[in-house]
Amino acid sequence: GAGVSQSPRYKVAKRGQDVALRCDPISGHVSLFWYQQALGQGPEFLTYFQNEAQLDKSGLPSDRFFAERPEGSVSTLKIQRTQQEDSAVYLCASSLSAGGSGTQYFGPGTRLTVL
């Protein structure tokens, strides 16, 4: 595809359930990012991969959040034992380069609602 895709687009989970969110970056993009966007706020950084290596996970809010990119392309963000405060839009972005000046291209996001 031409852009970053994410699935599912919407996810409703009961408190305590585990969820997995998928991101397909633009083909050939080295860098991949996950952000969390709460209602009425700007996106907040969660984690960053360069190829399959997770170089920065400083933004993950707790050990219930886990991300992987095993083959350096598709990535999955997993949230265990979801809580109501996890409700947000989860954005994935990819970038062609490894440098900070590279443009990050965003997917449409997955809206997670935890009941």
């Binding site: 852009g3 009425g40 700007g42 996106p43 950084f45 170089l55 490894a98 900070g100 000046s101 443009t103």
Partner: protein, 115 residues
Amino acid sequence: AQSVTQLDSQVPVFEEAPVELRCNYSSSVSVYLFWYVQYPNQGLQLLLKYLSGSTLVESINGFEAEFNKSQTSFHLRKPSVHISDTAEYFCAVTSQEPGRRALTFGSGTRLQVQP
């Protein structure tokens, strides 16, 4: 660490009027600066970015932003807005340090263009 402040959460403006969306940042290191736009029901798209060189940068749809290092600002301007410019605008920065790729976003400014 960096922080971004967008003081105006909403900016109503009439069509064909000029507009300025304010962005101030704080950082202990040099940064790259970005403006992203989110149209209704769409994902984040890069509008323009400042990496180095001329402090005035322009987008293809008539927006411009000027990097002011002394005032740590990167305000976005357009001399004449259209209805189609109605969207949420996010200012963002990232460190120029190697390995630091995370974008830090402001809370966004909703531009509402009225006929």
